[in-house]
């Protein structure tokens, strides 16, 4: 267990210390059933005494695998710390499967970076966090046989099929609408991305279907804007200036929701005029008083499925589903803290 040099104890030293061959040491760790129990005990003692850990590079070389999952680090954007939370969940899920998460930056040519990492054996596959409609990376990967899994169902990809894990965000927004209906609202607006983002369209559809199901008006109650608070507030203000303004908003993301609530302003008692429900359940929900309800994606489950699908590809299993669809959950919040002093 001593020793200053971090690297240095090799399988041969352990073998010598235990009076067996290298292969036997390896077997103790990888196939214990092949080793007599007293021998195994002796080897295990030597391993503990010397503080032996199998050298990863040697394993990788021999096994032609890195046990690393690659993920391109994207510049943080928006108010939601979704990437943050997903990374945490992914790291834990990967650890359970014996993998690590390797972050990398795409300095100039993104595709070349992916190719380098795969061909050099630095990673075994990729997780794509930022899949866009018609994303050119997917067919490019597929053509090269590069293993990958998407967080977010691929759209606009012709008849080609890829592995994915997604969250049924239409369902999530519908739940938000139902919550607002239950709170007594009849004019519920939607605010989200302009058409074309795929998941954005889906969230809007979730609002529309749920509203119709409850016999609510949807005609002039849908707004779109860029995903930043300022733009969202303007768009919400436009909806609010109509003849029959909405009293509540279901939103495509927390950013839109914050914008809507700012546009709605507060009454004389300091409470907001508008009830809004966001999407992503980011830290932003806590930044308002009362705190905001929001639709939470099950990131832990997403990460576990992502890892399972990727590891399945790497092992060559063909009994994997093409994709996994998960249900989000509505988190309702009521601020119980002190009212603002006025």
């Amino acid at each position: 267990m001593s020793g200053r040099d971090p690297i240095g104890v090799t399988i041969s030293e352990v073998a010598a210390a235990a009076g067996v061959s290298r292969q036997t040491v390896s077997n103790v760790l990888k196939a214990p059933e092949r080793v007599a129990s007293d021998t195994a005990a002796r080897v295990r003692r030597a391993i503990d005494d010397l503080g032996y850990r199998p050298n990863r590079a040697a394993q990788n070389l021999r096994q032609r695998a890195s046990r690393c999952i690659g993920l391109k680090m994207v510049p943080p954007s928006g108010v939601s710390n979704l990437l943050d939370r997903f990374l945490h969940a992914l790291t834990e899920a990967a650890a359970v499967a014996g993998y690590h998460v390797l972050l990398f930056a795409a300095v100039d040519d993104e595709l070349a970076t992916y190719e380098d990492l795969i061909r050099s054996g630095t990673v075994d596959g990729f997780v794509l966090f930022d899949v866009e409609v018609g994303d050119p990376r997917l067919p490019w990967f597929a053509r090269r046989g590069i293993p990958f899994v998407c967080f977010g169902r691929p759209r606009g990809q012709g008849r080609e099929r890829f592995r994915w894990v997604d969250v049924d965000s239409a369902y999530g927004v519908a739940r938000a609408v139902e919550h607002l209906v239950g709170r007594g609202h009849r004019r519920i607006a939607y605010l989200g991305w302009p058409e074309g983002t795929g998941f954005g369209d889906e969230r809007r559809a979730g609002w529309e279907q749920a509203a119709r199901r409850h016999g609510l008006d949807v005609g002039d109650l849908a707004g779109t804007s860029a995903e930043d608070v300022t733009a969202a507030a303007s768009a919400a203000a436009r909806l609010l200036s109509g003849p029959e303004p909405p009293t509540a908003f279901a939103c495509g993301s927390d950013t839109f929701a914050v914008g809507a609530r700012l546009a709605g302003g507060t009454g004389a008692d300091g409470r907001p005029n508008l009830e809004v429900v966001g999407f992503d359940d980011s830290a932003a929900t806590m930044l308002m008083s009362p705190a905001m309800s929001s639709v939470r994606q099950p990131l832990g489950e997403v990460a576990r499925h992502v890892v399972a699908l990727l590891v399945g590809q790497l092992r060559g299993s063909d009994d994997q589903p093409e994709g996994v669809m998960l249900r989000p959950e509505l988190v309702t919040r009521e601020w119980r803290g002190p009212e603002p002093v006025l």
Copy 2:
């Protein structure tokens, strides 16, 4: 450039294709000056034709280095997406130095996880993002000769010295105070962590010194709370209920700042009663109307220095500074968007 199998092209195949030996191919890539230019051109053609990339595992094994920097993924907390942004900066800085960032989860025994990663050669060193006062990991690493660099100056560590990069947050808060003074405020409160976090104490000291320098009162204008919006709002409300309430807050983090502003409430025109300055310049600053000013840590620079210090240790250079202190920058914001409709 063709080839379906991602791994497979080895240096020997390139050598055969170019009609030279393995070592010459290696030299073309690592020591081009040793190779005749026409030979080099021939080799480079073969490399391009075959799509050869040196196998990372083989390099790692031979060179006894992984060129990976380890970082423990911590569960996201607070409203600031600081980790997110730091990870992005770190990944880019590491890439420039030829390193990757490897994320890992500490499932049960954290120290054992670190030891595994180092002894197995999975990573060459660590970046510590979450250093606490008297953090036991630092002497533990030092005793074992494990290379690491702290983001945040180590405190409470006796006379032992470690490598670090830090941001002068006292200076940052002082700048915030000066900004508020310039805006005409005379009663400027501080809200931050309870004593004992090190960096929190420092930020508070920055406020106190700057306030005294301008002849302002500090006596009953310092508040503390846990770092969440609810608790921060309560603490701010207490300060505001005094006989001579503050008109502005300088805060230890954006979370405190948001809490303070919520506690301050808004006037009849919908504008907030309190002017607050946060710390970290997280996405939360954009969530209010008008947007909030905040002190921004130079994360890109921090990351570059962290990588430089770590790589220096790995190379064994002894001309490295013990630590690097950087200056944050005050980002002032004035909301130009639409006013809330009332």
